[in-house]
């Protein structure tokens, strides 16, 4: 074996320009063995796979698409780091790459050769995978593989990642790849070298092909100032209709599955703390998170289809004009829009924003977008504010969405002018060819995103659910003396009046016990903090509980006021009970001032632990999650205070 030969178990870095079929090729080579992690301290995803060949094992690392190794971008920095051995995906030991799989696109070979030259200069054993040869032929470009191989000093393999047999052939070559002294051959002038190699190895026919004509027409339509916006609005409406509408079916199934699981566990285990913890803590808590899985999987499946069709790059230009005044690029739009379903996939989708500062600004303000978890709270409060007036309810409901968007955009502007100050990166984007997207790839992407969501957010919310259940259940106290008295009276009264008294006693009991739990006691202590925005002890407990997840607010209020756990807003009785609920001093909880104040607070406050966990991971540090929590909740408190005190000062009851 000569010096520089790749031996078994060695690291192979896969590099190439964006949109050259690199990830499709990686998926074909890796099969099911791939793992997704991050490059440490970055939002950049790392796909890694261990594969076996007849000659031994290889570890493949799929690097982000780059235009050059020396460019001042995070992607180029990562590629450089992996090649040199200073960076490794999380969970892997950093070591210089033993071999490079260079993926070159035959339709843009000249440009690809500049990157090839940079990679070859490093002297690492290299194999070239030449993709898109069919497309190149259709465009009148012929590539002589033998000449190319001779000039590059390494093996060149033509691959069709979607159809062709590439597996062992390419992997076998990678295990045997050796340096052949190309380092010296590239020389100092990279572009001159690339042009020389291209002139020798490729021949291109000039003129526009039919593909170009179709692409021209589609580009004109999709980036047109008016038509482009209409197409974009239509595509996004379809996308979110699918997420909100189609996802409801699997969401209902998941809901039913977890309800059934709760029932089975309740039947199987004897009554007691373990049964309660599993049913009310683990199953209810995990179920409340997993229910969002269909929306997340569907969102990433559809986004992947749109991205690979070539449309998304065009749409980024349409929306860039609208977001630029707020310091955000067009790439931020899809993440921000996704945030209206759930902040978690939105934050994960922000990986598509190329500039690190703009990406961070997007992540930080994204939870201002009203997610589906806020909907039950909006429904409750707008109904309490405008009983029997659906028109005004709808207006207030839409206003909540508007307030979230305005707060998010203005916060982005402030962040970009202060902590994330820096030049706006002007939009320059390669527009890939339009093509039929791969269903398999989209499914794989969606499954990977879904799994990440389940693993990361699911574990956090599972732990939080157990903690919240424990705090809301313990210490347990005996029955309320007032409830005991009522029950004694009820026992002497027959008929409906007796039943009413018993129900009233149950409610008193639940409220009494809730007050004495750890959460209830914390509510009592913290209440002075929330008093200036109109919250009494019960509302304070509701607010505190909702810091784990917003949707908990409605059920927590219902539990405290009704003493029952099945809070169903469709039931007029529950709404009526909440509308007439009283504070400890007998005054109503939901006055007009309190309801408006709570609405503003819930639109703006950061009350979602999984989002904070994902922000910390995606932004590269807990400090960013804390900043998000502090800024959003501080702003929510300040505006709620202004609203509450202004309405009270105006004397509105």
């Amino acid at each position: 074996m000569s010096e520089g030969v790749v031996t078994a178990g060695r690291l192979v870095a896969i590099i190439g320009n964006p949109n050259v079929g690199k990830t499709t090729l990686f998926n074909r080579l890796a099969g099911r063995s791939q793992k997704t992690s991050n490059f440490p301290g970055t939002t950049q995803e790392a796909h890694v796979a261990r594969v076996s060949t007849s000659a031994g094992e290889l570890t493949l690392v799929d690097l982000p698409g780059i235009y050059g190794l020396r460019l001042d971008t995070s992607e180029s920095g990562i590629a450089r780091g992996v090649l040199e051995g200073s960076i490794a995906p999380e969970g892997f030991r950093a070591a210089p790459a033993d071999a490079v799989l260079l993926v070159l696109d035959a339709t843009n070979l000249l440009r690809n050769l500049s990157l090839a030259g940079e990679a070859l200069r490093a002297g690492t054993p290299t194999v070239v995978a030449l993709t898109m040869l069919d497309d190149a032929r259709r465009r009148g470009i012929e590539v002589n593989i033998e000449v190319l191989s001779r000039r590059l000093g390494c093996e060149v393999v033509a691959v069709d990642a979607k159809r062709g047999e590439i597996g062992n052939g390419l992997l076998g070559r990678l295990t045997m790849a050796a340096t052949r002294g190309t380092k010296e051959a590239v020389g100092d002038d990279l572009h001159a070298w690339a042009e020389e190699v291209y002139a020798e190895a490729a021949a291109a026919r000039s003129g526009r092909s039919d593909d170009d004509r179709i692409t021209d027409r589609l580009d004109s339509a999709f980036t047109h100032p008016l038509l482009g916006v209409i197409v974009f609005a239509t595509v996004m409406t379809g996308l979110f209709w699918a997420i909100f509408r189609l996802a409801t079916y699997p969401m209902d199934w998941i809901d039913a599955l977890f309800a059934a699981m709760g029932g089975w566990v309740a039947d199987l285990l004897p009554e007691g703390a373990l049964q309660e913890m599993l049913v009310d803590g683990v199953i209810a808590g995990v179920g409340a998170t997993v229910i969002f899985l269909p929306q997340i999987v569907l969102l990433f499946f559809l986004l992947s289809l749109l991205e690979h069709s070539g449309y998304l790059a065009r749409a980024a230009f349409v929306i860039d004009r609208l977001l630029r005044p707020f310091g955000l690029p067009g790439h931020s739009f899809v993440p921000l829009l996704s945030g209206h379903a759930c902040a978690l996939p939105g934050i994960m989708a922000a990986r598509a924003v190329p500039d690190p500062r703009e990406r961070l600004a997007t992540v930080l303000v994204l939870p201002f977008m009203s997610c589906t978890a806020r909907i039950p709270v909006y429904v409750l409060l707008t109904t309490l504010l405008f009983p029997g007036k659906p028109g005004l309810q709808a207006l207030a409901f839409a206003g909540c969405y508007g307030l979230g968007i305005v707060a998010g955009l203005l916060s982005a502007l402030i962040a970009r002018r202060t902590i994330l100050r820096g030049p706006a990166r002007p939009m320059a984007l390669e527009l890939p060819s339009y093509r039929l997207p791969s269903l398999g790839y989209a499914l794989k992407t969606a499954a990977a995103r879904g799994w990440t969501f389940l693993r990361k957010a699911g574990t956090v919310i599972l732990a939080m659910s157990i903690v919240l259940w424990w705090l809301g259940t313990y210490p347990q106290s005996g029955p309320s003396p007032a409830a005991e008295e009522l029950r004694a009276t009820a026992a002497t009264v027959d008929g409906p009046r007796g039943e009413e008294l018993t129900e009233e006693a149950d409610r008193l009991d639940s409220a009494y016990r809730a007050e004495r739990t750890a959460l209830g006691r914390i509510g009592g202590v913290v209440q002075p903090v929330f008093e200036p925005i109109g919250a009494d002890r019960k509302l304070t407990i509701g607010i505190l509980a909702s810091f784990a997840a917003r949707e908990v607010f409605v059920s927590t209020m219902a539990v405290q006021i009704l003493g029952g756990e099945d809070a169903d807003l469709e039931a007029g009785g529950v709404r009526e009970a909440l509308a007439t609920a009283e504070r400890d001093d007998g005054s109503p909880i939901f006055t007009r001032a309190t309801s408006w104040s709570m609405l503003v607070f819930f639109v703006l406050a950061m009350q979602c632990l999984p989002t904070l966990a994902v922000t910390a991971r995606e932004a590269g540090g807990v400090k960013w999650a804390l900043l998000q929590l502090g800024w959003m909740t501080g702003l929510a408190y300040a505006l709620a205070l202004i609203v509450y005190q202004s309405i009270r000062a105006a004397g509105i009851a």
């Binding site: 460019l71 070979l109 291109a204 230009f317 320059a428 390669e430």
Partner: protein, 91 residues
Amino acid sequence: MTEHVEIKPVPVPLTRMTRGQRGVLREATIEGSDGEMLVAMGLRPNCRLRVCRSGQTCIVAVETGCGGGCRIGLSRHLADRVMVEPIAAGR
């Protein structure tokens, strides 16, 4: 004796080019990493371009420079700084 003087077209900003027009990139006055990125994407001096769309979003097909016909979208801010020498129709 008549002297033939060839009048070379004066480079104009890319934003002044119309749809379908071809030109040769002469200079891009974009400094720093953005300029380096455009070169790496294929927008190099002397490459031939075809304007697919002009206006706020400028789309150019890079006919030489990429080796095929990659398309690059540029915001007006960048397109204003890319100087192109128009090629007469039919050449």
